[in-house]
Symmetry: C2
Subunit: 475 residues, 2 copies
């Protein structure tokens, strides 16, 4: 299906060597935008990495990295030597059941009466607190605590501390491909409060809102808080099923999705599905609530860009949190809001609890601005990759006959299916009696036909503890 | 109407010299409880202060203090030498227009075209941040920041940090006559979030809730958040008008009041009105939301006990905040909830934003436990009394012809009426153009027939600034 053009297309991407944005990122962003905007059409050939490197006057490595990322995310296709082409269709991105091919489940599934103790002490969403740069953080806290200025003590801006909003905007632009300015950033206490504000801003009583099914139960609670009607929409391997959204008799005013790392199933929404969703929202003047939780840690590719960054019609409200990338008790997160909605969101945030404590906003600003945050993220990617690999091995070695992990490509937890007929809530209850923490997959479903399984965090325990816990669990 | 009994009644109050509770407080509490419970009947004579002091084996001073407080709050009456008697009716407590008798308004009211600049830079609710014990607080913050334990970083209990809840329960029992245990205390980010949780816990869409009129607009916003119907109820000089509550066609599921220091008018609800309100709630199985904001600072008497402490039917939800007694950016407040409602409140708090940041909870616990808090409160009473007196004098000297202060007995702000026909919002708008902060009284009214006036804070500026601002305002 390739239709190579007579010559390679010229370099048409914006590229500024002195902008401070990594070269590979600029190249990746440039071609991605060109493809998504239709500037580059299916079948068009990209320049060779060598040619492009020469044209841009840089080394070949960042070009190769950018092309690999485009290849990996399904925007282009190609084989070494034969050139790189824009794909005919924006294809599925991470729809392959990664893990089944990687792990071998040697033993057949067995009856579950011995399953009580199979769960490790793996609380979902707990980051590696033992790896946090405590000394740096303490120093920043003490710095501000010693200088207890009136600014630090008095009422703060409900939008949040401006330098923090600026630092977040910069981070989101570079690292998450979110298109925003600081004046679109609203500081909140975390994604839970962000969802409450979304519900109050976007949904009147009786309005319908679509939500992925399964989903985080806390999201359902928050979206229901204005007496909106929740429409649970099933997922296929590409993400939320747009046809099912379109089939709802009651037009949905908004849809809640976790495109980077679906909670709890771990899917990444494919690029084509993202475009379909954005198109649906644009045509129906509906809102997309993008909860980009856990997007920072991917193990088989670089982080996937945000849905918000692909949105050209300002239909996306983007939610992020520092709970997992800094630590949970920080209680700081943010919304990125289309500018025309900002004042309403801000006023609702003020009505809810006025503003977030100032001290940690100042400390987090320093943490971001002084580069500690990005260093921490880089270190944590390695740590979590090790923990995830140890966890998968331990699951395979000791629990492979009971648990089938699913989509383990990203984040700090995974879902693993239990054999059909096993009541996951009962397992979790019994595990809790042994001091072991897990979440029943079925609690995440709104519909009746749920899958039985466990959601297990692997971020909070080191490799030795992971192995010990998994061994203990099969005793 | 006095019916002196043959002999003085015996000492029947609980008194424990080694309990750590101040003597005067034990005596006051004991007699107040005895009167409210009917154990002491109208007309009964109390022992003389001398007799009681001898019986208790203490000096006479705390007894005199306790009796003065009882006298002041209208539980007893008496003249020196003639004995002290339980009153026939629990009378009005602070219904006198205190200030009119204290200040002289020499000049007649004049047309208002020169009123633009009469407002001082007096932001409502701002505490004396310049008087805060910064060094002590910084030391406590650094202490915990240096020991960045996993406990401090991980997910916290949505109810709040237990030692903090214990410290608050102790403070409320001793200082605010609130009857509670730590397991009834729910930590939130402040009274605004507390009101949201109350709305969600107590009010279904369409339920009616009575609210004082005028009231803090943020309270109206929060109580409306579940689409409840707000019924604005006028005040008389005793507090909210119970007859008007009873007259509402739609039975009210809850009523929101600020009995210690009505916002914005500064009234203190009288003891008899409190009993009426509690009786109404008990008979109708309705809830009372007591917002005890600003209760800590009284200038002509000791703090009045809470409504919650007089409630024998568990109908009161009590709200407190540290925004004004510590500092606003702390973002910590609390609810005291009848134990049978606690789990629901806790779960709603979790749905709203999971939990409050841990660091400041630990710091505040130390601040309370190590006695810094009560020392700070004692010092601040003197500071605010001085500022209030300077403010009243400045108002009288420079702005007496424009502004008539009303109920200046407590808190960090006062309301002052403008001459009839003056648009207070216009004054506030123009004042804001001059960088001067004030709040228009009319914005606090839900009904149309509002009073025109200004709400002015005097907590945040020292006496020199107060005088300078008031002088400047009449230029």
């Amino acid at each position: 299906m390739k239709r190579p053009l007579a010559s390679e297309i010229p370099t048409l991407i914006p590229f500024e060597p002195n902008s401070g944005i990594p070269f590979y990122k600029q190249i990746y962003n440039g071609y991605r935008t060109a493809i998504l905007s239709g500037q580059l059409r299916p079948g068009q050939r990209l320049p060779s990495t060598r040619t492009l490197a020469v044209e841009l006057g840089i080394s070949r490595l960042p070009v190769v990295n950018a092309f690999e990322q485009l290849l990996h995310e399904g925007y282009v296709e190609g084989k070494s030597g034969a050139g790189t082409y824009v794909k005919d269709t924006i294809p599925d991105e991470f729809a392959r059941p990664v893990l089944e091919r990687r792990l071998e489940f040697k033993k057949p599934l067995e009856p579950a009466d011995t399953l009580e103790e199979i769960v490790g002490p793996f609380r979902v969403s707990l980051p590696a607190l033992d790896q946090f740069p405590n000394k740096i953080w303490s120093r920043l806290v003490s710095r501000h605590a010693k200088n207890l200025s009136v600014e630090l003590m008095t009422y703060g801006d409900p939008s949040g501390y401006l330098p923090l909003r600026e630092a977040i905007a910069q981070y989101l632009n570079t690292s998450r491909a979110v298109r925003c300015e600081a004046n679109q950033i609203l500081i909140v206490s975390g994604s839970q409060m962000a969802l409450h504000i979304c519900a109050r801003a976007l949904l009147k009583p009786g309005d319908a809102v679509c939500i992925e099914d399964p989903a985080y139960p806390g999201a359902r609670d928050a979206l229901r808080s204005t007496s909106a009607t929740l429409l649970p929409i099933p997922l296929d391997e590409q993400g939320i099923d747009i046809n099912r959204i379109a089939l709802q008799k009651k037009g949905a005013r908004a849809v809640y999705v976790t495109p980077s790392h679906q909670y709890p199933l771990g899917l990444t929404m494919t690029a084509s599905r993202r475009l379909e969703l954005l198109d649906w929202a644009r045509r129906n003047k509906s809102w997309i609530i993008e909860d980009d939780y856990d997007s920072e840690y991917r193990y088989t590719s670089r982080p996937v860009g945000s849905l918000q960054g692909m949105d050209t019609a300002s239909r996306v409200i983007y939610i992020g949190t520092f709970s997992r990338v800094v630590f949970p008790s920080l209680r700081l997160g943010y919304l990125v809001v289309p500018i025309e909605l900002f004042n309403e969101f801000r006023s609702l945030r003020e009505t809810l609890d006025i503003f977030s404590p100032t001290l940690y906003q100042l400390v987090l600003t320093d943490f971001l601005q002084e580069g500690h945050f990005s260093r921490h993220l880089r270190r944590m990617r390695v740590t979590y990759l090790d923990r995830r690999n140890a966890f998968l091995k331990a699951l395979s070695d000791h629990l492979g006959k009971y648990l089938t992990p699913y989509n383990t490509d990203a984040g700090l937890h995974l879902s693993a299916f239990l054999p059909v007929g096993i009541d996951d809530r009962e397992i979790v209850r019994k595990a809790a009696e042994h001091g072991v923490s897990a979440t029943a997959l079925s609690t995440c479903y709104a519909r009746k036909h749920s899958r039985s399984g466990l959601i297990l965090g692997f971020g909070g325990a080191n490799e030795r503890r992971i192995r010990a816990a998994a061994q203990h669990s099969v005793k």
